[in-house]
Symmetry: C2
Subunit: 257 residues, 2 copies
């Protein structure tokens, strides 16, 4: 395969918005889902950030990330309460006005009519959308997310992130599809570091990551090989599992998840 | 309490380094631990970033964060393999040379003498420390972390992060100690948004976060109140639990963890 024929690398960043993750009280459940979802369609998440519910922090992060990556996905801060300031902060970042979006108003008016709830001022906050944005449908709780340029703004609840990612996926253009194979072995990574470095230098198109772990009172190493070229991946994999075996690591390939 | 007597706010950022978290394969276990540990000594984590094992990404993040927050804590990328480039990237960020650190060499020489391992070139990588840094002891696997100015560089394995945080904690100066109380209620946040916003505006020194959740097929809301002023916190808490009760949310205080 010539270089010219290779699909380009498409990159993304994830921005998690909310004080709760930063306080340590809540464990984020969205980054892993979004990264796996995007990886499956050939988009590589290259950076993630977690910022608090403060306009300038959100806007600075949005502007830094949308310039550096093909896509940006945000979660959190688009609900009806006083601390939900993501939509306003994204509008501020882009320098565009924000106001009630006719289609969002319609969706929510219908929703509250059907459920018998009152469409209060607070709930109307959820229809405030930056000018020029298109909506991202939310089949779970109706209040939509939105896309502005290459930035996709979603809710924070994992089940809603999942339906929103499904709903927006046909707007994304994937690139080179990365495949990976993982070896777990029970030997410290320093015992295989030199041989592994040699394999890495012989296979520049395969990324080889070495990740130490500690479980069952034993140190071990996970070796993750990734490439868009599956035959090179398999060759490098064979050499890597052989060197881990030679070092006494009893290597096994981890089943794909 | 006059404003002048209040302890200052001390802030921190966490930088998680490694492709694995970004690929979705590995869930980070360090951010929550570090945030809770720091919160307990009066240091508030205000931002977190996850970057891949690339020098410029690491250096850019280190420089952005060390200028914006009192402390920066990094995890990952200080082992013996080819992809462990955190120490070099931090030296690059600070514009200082890097080389074998005498005390780190001594620790590792002794460790491999005791354990019967060979002190290979790859293992010697773990003694490379930026000029001017002081070591952070690692009682689990010996290879030290380091502190350079306000940046603390640690391993990625959670058990090692934990012993390193313990070992470095006497170098940290905490500020205002934040306390928090959490209410869980089974009512959508939009039903209480307006009343909650009113409580927030009456208690500017109490941060009130509203976090929707979905469990047991039911939407609910967690309300987290935080303040350095515990009497204001308790007052705002009483008003908040009353409004959640009035909205039919059957609110309960979540036990402190």
């Amino acid at each position: 395969m010539s270089d010219a024929a290779e699909p380009r690398t498409v990159t993304a960043a994830v921005l998690l918005i909310g004080d709760e993750i930063l306080s340590g009280r809540t464990k984020d459940a969205n980054l892993g889902f979004i990264a796996t979802f995007l990886g499956d369609i050939g988009i590589q998440v290259r950076e993630a950030r977690v910022v608090s519910d403060e306009r300038d922090r959100i806007a600075d992060a949005v502007n830094a990330l949308r310039g550096a990556y093909d896509y940006v996905f945000t979660t959190g801060g688009i609900g009806p309460t006083h601390d939900d300031i993501t939509a306003d902060s994204v509008a501020y970042a882009f320098g565009v006005p924000i106001g009630p979006h006719p289609e969002a108003m319609e969706i929510l008016t219908l929703h509250y009519a059907e459920t018998g709830g009152e469409f209060t001022q607070a709930r109307k906050r959820m229809a405030r959308i930056p000018e020029g944005a298109t909506l991202i449908p939310n089949s779970v709780s109706k209040a939509p997310g939105f896309q502005l340029d290459n930035v996709f703004v979603m809710a924070g609840i994992p089940i809603i992130v999942q339906v929103m990612m499904d709903a927006l996926s046909d707007r994304l253009e994937g690139g080179a599809k990365m495949t990976s194979r993982t070896i777990d072995c029970f030997v410290g990574e320093s015992a295989i570091a030199e041989a592994l470095g040699e394999v890495q230098s012989r296979y520049p198109k395969v990324g080889i990551g070495s990740y130490p772990f500690y479980r069952d009172n034993q140190f071990g190493t996970s070796l993750v090989l990734r490439s868009v070229d599956s035959s090179k991946l398999d060759e490098a994999f064979a050499e890597t599992i052989a060197l881990a075996d030679k070092a006494g690591g009893k290597p096994v390939e981890r089943a794909a998840t």
